[in-house]
Structure formats: structure tokens, C-alpha cells
């Protein structure tokens, strides 16, 4: 009996050790992949900076430009404006797209009406929205906001609609049998099922928002990071242009990974 127990313990220990080693190996592969990708990117950049001189600045010159920007008040002013625009477009598109996605997912009538419009909306290239919004609303804050909200909503709506369709129908039966009030059934049963899709939609919406905001600013705004990048391009200040782009990308990545990922972790804590 004691021998059997000892053998079982040894088997369990071996299995745990194998599992730990496999985990460690996977982590190493992951880190190595990232390091190779970053080093490769820098190497490519360095080669291009030699071959396509002076249009591609060297990494050192770009780093110096970034350092100067970080000490400039104008950069923070532009950044603040761009962040406000990104936030407004992100919130509006996520909210409108989510509500529309839930409505279309739950109601056949809403689906019949909105789905063709959303399909068309998905097919229209984003710059078309920007140009039409400028023509309709004029150059100003409104044009960018309208263009971005209309451009992002179909994507968010589509993600959420698919999630509503894929919900667990047996839980719908459960709340019906127990006669749970509709708002409570939505809050406690349906909404939590949509959280992974809502987070994906938010992540997608955020990523597209900041990219499109930069385009909108470059085309039709006198200020913001996009306008600053466009101005640097017009003046052939390639170091500044690249430095602005890199700083902005890094900040957006930090926000995406920090804020959206935190919300996701908290909302799905029951899975751990």
C-alpha cells in the first residue's frame, strides 16, 4: 500500500515537473521570438537609413528627436488634443456599435433592417467617410468625430452581433423558466456572455480610432499628432515625423495593454 502511494506521488511529481518544464520552454520561445522581431526591425531600419539616406533617419537621430519632443510643451498639447479625439470616437463607436450589435443579434426585425446597412458600411473605405464628413460638416472637430463613429460602428456591431448569436440558448431557457425580469436577465445572463466580444470590439475600436484620428488630423485639422506628423512631412523633417509616430504608437500600446487589458482581466476574473 505504502509502495503504491509512493509510486503515485512520484508519478504526480514527474508530471508536475514535465508541465513546469514545458511552461518554461514556451515562455523562453515567446521571449526569444519577441527579441528576434525587435532586433530584426532595428536592423532593417538601420540598413534602410544607410540605403535611403536622408529620407529614412537613423535610429540614433530619431531617438534624439524623440528626446527633444518629450521636452516640448507643443508635443503635449497636440497629444492631449489627439487623445481627446481618440477617446470621443472610441467611446461613441463602441457604445453605438455595441447597442446596435445587441439589437441586431436579438431581434430578427432589427437584423433585417440594419444588417444590409452595416454590410455596406463595412465595405466603404475609411477615407471616404472622412472626406464625406468634411464635406457635410465642414472642417472642424465635428467632421472627425462623425466620420470615425460611422467608420467604426459597423465593425463593433458585427463582432457583438456574432457573439449574441453564439450565446448559450440553454441559459435563455433557464431565465425564462424562472421568470427572471428582462432587464435582470440581460444584466446577469446575456451581458456577461458578451463581455469577451465587447472587449475584442473595444480593442479593435481603440486600435482603429487612433489610426483614423491621425489620418483625420492630417487631412483636416490644424492641430493634434496627425497634423504635426503631416506638417513635419511637408517640411521634410523626417526625424521629427518618425519620432512623433513612434511616441504616439508606444503611448497607444501602453493604453491598450494597460487599460483595455485590465478591464478584460477584471471582467473575466471568474474564469481564474
Amino acid at each position: 500500500m505504502a509502495a503504491t502511494t509512493a509510486a503515485t506521488d512520484r508519478t504526480a511529481q514527474t508530471a508536475e515537473m514535465v508541465h513546469r518544464l514545458q511552461g518554461r520552454h514556451a515562455r523562453r520561445v515567446n521571449i526569444a521570438g519577441k527579441v528576434i522581431a525587435i532586433v530584426g526591425l532595428f536592423a532593417l531600419w538601420f540598413v534602410l537609413s544607410i540605403l535611403v539616406r536622408p529620407w529614412v533617419p537613423t535610429p540614433e537621430a530619431t531617438a534624439m528627436a524623440m528626446y527633444r519632443l518629450l521636452g516640448s510643451a507643443a508635443f503635449y498639447g497636440d497629444l492631449g488634443l489627439t487623445l481627446m479625439r481618440v477617446l470621443a470616437a472610441f467611446v461613441a463607436a463602441t457604445l453605438v456599435g455595441s447597442i446596435l450589435g445587441i439589437a441586431v443579434g436579438l431581434s430578427k426585425r432589427a437584423e433585417a433592417f440594419f444588417q444590409p446597412l452595416l454590410a455596406v458600411g463595412l465595405a466603404v473605405p475609411d477615407p471616404v467617410y472622412i472626406i464625406f464628413a468634411i464635406l457635410a460638416v465642414g472642417v472642424g472637430e465635428g467632421a472627425g468625430f462623425v466620420a470615425l463613429t460611422i467608420a467604426l460602428t459597423p465593425f463593433v456591431s458585427n463582432i457583438v452581433r456574432s457573439s449574441v448569436h453564439a450565446r448559450d440558448a440553454t441559459l435563455d431557457e433557464m431565465v425564462k423558466v424562472y421568470r427572471i425580469a428582462p432587464w435582470r436577465a440581460f444584466r446577469d445572463s446575456l451581458f456577461p456572455q458578451l463581455i469577451p466580444a465587447l472587449v475584442t470590439a473595444a480593442r479593435f475600436s481603440f486600435a482603429l480610432s487612433w489610426k483614423l484620428v491621425v489620418v483625420v488630423e492630417a487631412i483636416g485639422q490644424p492641430d493634434g499628432i496627425g497634423a504635426a506628423i503631416f506638417q513635419a512631412f511637408n517640411l521634410l523633417r523626417m526625424r521629427e515625423m518618425l519620432a512623433l509616430a513612434i511616441l504616439f504608437i508606444v503611448l497607444m500600446q501602453v493604453l491598450e495593454r494597460g487599460v483595455v487589458a485590465q478591464i478584460e482581466r477584471r471582467a473575466l476574473s471568474w474564469r481564474r
Binding site: T170, L171, V177, Y178, I180, A181, R184, D188, S189, R271
Partner: protein, 274 residues
């Protein structure tokens, strides 16, 4: 359930569930799933429904739970129609084959959800939840996520949820079929104890005749489909019962003999010889 005019239940017994001329058909072709069933269930009865796979047992439960309106006939609960009752519809309990707990809500929150639809005032929710978890022997899991529980513990929570709303009757759709045999045996014993303690009316669907004989007062045997009642068998075995009791085997054998031809089952050589 008692077929109308049956002598199994005294005439004065208060019927919780009264089904008259119930038929259900599906789809454009109106394929019949249930055909003209007349039955009644008395308060406090433990009734098992057995039938072969696909005979219409689940359809019947869907009708009795209010999920699916009958094509024809009437279902009365405590003397009032189940369909069209609106806000006055009776409270029912349902223990599904899978637990159907909300995984993102703790045990307590899952139970509070059904209490929110009951007449129990919120200041009594906690006491009611404690009481029911005590009955089910799982008070330690009150603030646990369902995915941290074993299959048997989840099904206990599911039973607690059904009992909590003080239902007119509880429907159970093969609730032990997904559990391992050891857990299922324990749960059968406990289910009997809970039923005796709470005096609930239970309608238990199973494909296991032995399980039906062990648990129920009466067994309703359905045809192969469309479902109609073949027989209504009273189980004449005193409680507490043992799962391996020869009396249970005897009643089971009698029912098997009765349904072999009806369900189109092949007889074993021994049965053929007998």
C-alpha cells in the same frame, strides 16, 4: 400524474398539475410529438416519467415548464391555466440535465437571481439561501464560483435553485445522467431525503427504469413517440429504499416486460426463454 378517472389517487387529492387532452406538434409538417395526454399530479407526489430516447419526454417538460405552448389541450397549475397567466403564472422549479448555473455568478448570486423573481422580500434572501444550502449540505460553497464545484455539487446548487422559489412543482430532466455512478447513487438518496423533508411535488424524467423505481411513488410509461401514456404504475415499496433491493429489481423487471414490445426492444435469450 394520474390519468383522468384513475383510481390511483383519491378523488379528494388536490391536484397541483392538471393536463387535459394535451397534444404538441412541430414544424410546418405538424409532426406530432405528444398525442392527447390526460394526466394529473397530486401535491407532494414524486412522479417519474420514463420513455425511450426521442419519445417526447423533453417536449413534455418544455410544455410543463412554460417554455413551449401546447398545440392543443390545457395545462392547469394549482387550478389556473399555465399559459396566458402572465404575471400570475406560478413559480416552477427546473433541474436541467446540465446545471445551467451562471458561471460568472457565485452560488449565492445564482440563487439570488431566482429569488429576484419570487415573492420573497430581499431582507429574507440570505436566510433562505442559508437554509436551502444547509438542506443540500453545501453551505461552505455559498460564495464559490460554479466552475470550482464538482459535477455533483453543481447539481446540488441546481436543485437548491429549484427549491428556493417554493415552486408548485419541480421538473427534473435526467439530472443525474451526467454524474458518475457513485455520485449519482448518493444524489438519489439525498434527493429522496430532500423530497421527504420539503414535501415538494417532483416530476422526474429518466431513461433508467431502475432509477425511476428507486425514486418515485408512481411511474408514467410513455409510448415510443408520439408520446402518450402506456401505463401508470404505482411503486409498492416502502421507504427508505435500497438501490439493490430485490423488490426494486422485481418492479423493474415487470416494467421492462411491459415495455419491451411497446418500445420495440429486442428480447434477450433469457427473456425469450422465460
Amino acid at each position: 400524474m394520474t390519468p383522468k378517472g384513475s383510481s390511483l389517487m383519491p378523488d379528494s387529492a388536490p391536484f397541483v398539475l392538471d393536463i387535459e387532452d394535451l397534444s404538441v406538434s412541430y414544424g410546418a409538417a405538424e409532426q406530432l410529438a405528444i398525442e392527447r395526454i390526460d394526466l394529473s399530479v397530486a401535491k407532494g407526489e414524486f412522479v417519474a416519467i420514463v420513455g425511450p430516447s426521442g419519445c417526447g419526454k423533453s417536449t413534455m417538460l418544455n410544455v410543463l415548464s412554460g417554455l413551449m405552448a401546447p398545440t392543443r389541450g390545457r395545462v392547469d397549475v394549482d387550478g389556473a391555466p399555465l399559459y396566458g397567466a402572465g404575471a400570475k403564472a406560478p413559480h416552477l422549479g427546473y433541474v436541467f440535465q446540465s446545471h445551467r448555473l451562471l458561471p460568472w455568478r457565485t452560488v449565492r448570486q445564482n440563487l439570488e437571481l431566482v429569488l429576484s423573481a419570487s415573492d420573497v422580500p430581499p431582507d429574507r434572501w440570505d436566510a433562505n439561501i442559508d437554509r436551502i444550502l444547509d438542506i443540500l449540505h453545501i453551505p461552505q460553497f455559498k460564495d464559490t464560483w460554479p466552475m470550482r464545484l464538482s459535477g455533483g455539487q453543481r447539481q446540488r446548487v441546481s436543485i437548491a435553485r429549484a427549491l428556493l422559489v417554493e415552486p408548485s412543482y419541480i421538473l427534473m430532466d435526467e439530472p443525474l445522467s451526467t454524474l458518475d455512478e457513485v455520485t449519482a447513487r448518493t444524489m438519489r438518496q439525498e434527493l429522496t431525503a430532500i423530497w421527504q423533508r420539503t414535501g415538494s411535488t417532483i416530476i422526474f424524467v429518466t431513461h433508467s427504469i431502475r432509477e425511476a423505481v428507486y425514486l418515485a411513488d408512481r411511474i408514467i410509461i410513455l409510448t415510443r413517440g408520439p408520446a402518450s401514456v402506456v401505463d401508470d404504475v404505482r411503486v409498492p415499496i416502502a421507504r427508505p429504499r435500497a438501490y439493490e433491493d430485490p423488490q426494486i429489481s422485481e418492479v423493474e423487471a415487470g416494467i421492462v416486460e411491459r415495455v419491451l414490445d411497446e418500445w420495440g426492444l429486442a428480447r434477450t435469450e433469457a427473456e425469450a426463454g422465460a
